[in-house]
C-alpha cells in the first residue's frame, strides 16, 4: 500500500542574503556615479567643441 507522504523530513534550504549586505547599495552608488560622469563628460565635450 502506498504510504501517504506526510511526515517525511525534507530540509528546504532557502538562501537568505545577509540583511547587512551592501551589494545593492554598491550597485546603486555606481549607477548614480556613472550617470554623473557621463553627463559631466558630455557637457565638457560640448563646451570644448564649440567656439
Amino acid at each position: 500500500m502506498a504510504k501517504a507522504e506526510l511526515k517525511t523530513k525534507q530540509k528546504t534550504e532557502v538562501e537568505v542574503e545577509d540583511s547587512s549586505s551592501l551589494k545593492g547599495t554598491l550597485a546603486s552608488v555606481f549607477f548614480l556615479g556613472a550617470f554623473i560622469i557621463v553627463t559631466w563628460v558630455s557637457v565638457y565635450y560640448l563646451f570644448v567643441d564649440r567656439f
Binding site: 551592501l22 551589494k23 547599495t25 554598491l26 552608488v29 555606481f30 556615479g33 554623473i36 560622469i37 559631466w40 565638457y44 563646451f47 564649440r50 567656439f51
Partner: protein, 158 residues
C-alpha cells in the same frame, strides 16, 4: 574603526571623481587662463560712446596683440550696435561688449560666448571663430518691454 569593503570602494571612487573634476576647473583657470567675462574692467556708462574702443563698434583689426580682431558691441534698450557683422573664418577675435543703460545679456546662440553686460563694466571673451555660419545674438537678461526684440547677428564667412 571598521569600514566595510564596499564603503571604501565608493568613497575612493567619489573622492577621486571630485579631485578630477576640480583639477579640470583648476587647470582651465590657472593654466589656460580662463576667467569670467566681466573681470572688473570698468567704464563710465554715460560716456560709452566717447570711450575707446566703444566709440567704434564693429569688427576692428588690431596689430601686435594675441588676437587678430576686436569685435566691439554696445548694447542699449533694445538693440545692439552693430546690428549685423561679418567675421572671417578662422579669425581669433576678442569680443568686447558693454551696456549704456540697464543689464543686458549677450548670448551668441550655439557657442560658448555668453556674457552678462552690466552698466559700468566691460565684458570680454576671446575665441577663434572656426565654424562658418550665421550666429544669432540674443539678450538673455530681461531688460524691459522690448527685450524679445533685441538681437544681432554674426556671420562667419570664408
Amino acid at each position: 574603526m571598521h569600514i566595510h569593503k564596499f564603503e571604501k570602494i565608493w568613497l575612493i571612487f567619489g573622492v577621486s571623481c571630485l579631485v578630477i573634476f576640480l583639477s579640470v576647473v583648476g587647470v582651465s583657470a590657472f593654466y589656460l587662463g580662463n576667467k569670467p567675462p566681466s573681470c572688473l574692467t570698468t567704464i563710465n556708462p554715460e560716456k560709452v560712446d566717447q570711450t575707446k574702443p566703444f566709440n567704434k563698434p564693429g569688427l576692428n583689426k588690431v596689430e601686435g596683440k594675441e588676437w587678430d580682431y576686436e569685435l566691439v558691441f554696445v548694447a542699449s534698450a533694445f538693440s545692439y550696435n552693430p546690428a549685423q557683422v561679418e567675421v572671417p573664418l578662422g579669425a581669433k577675435v576678442k569680443v568686447i561688449a558693454t551696456t549704456k543703460d540697464v543689464i543686458h545679456g549677450f548670448e551668441v546662440a550655439g557657442t560658448n560666448i555668453n556674457m552678462m553686460l552690466e552698466p559700468g563694466y566691460v565684458s570680454e571673451y576671446t575665441t577663434t571663430f572656426d565654424k562658418a555660419g550665421e550666429y544669432l545674438i540674443v539678450c538673455n537678461e530681461y531688460c524691459g518691454a522690448g527685450h524679445h526684440l533685441m538681437s544681432s547677428k554674426i556671420e562667419v564667412v570664408k
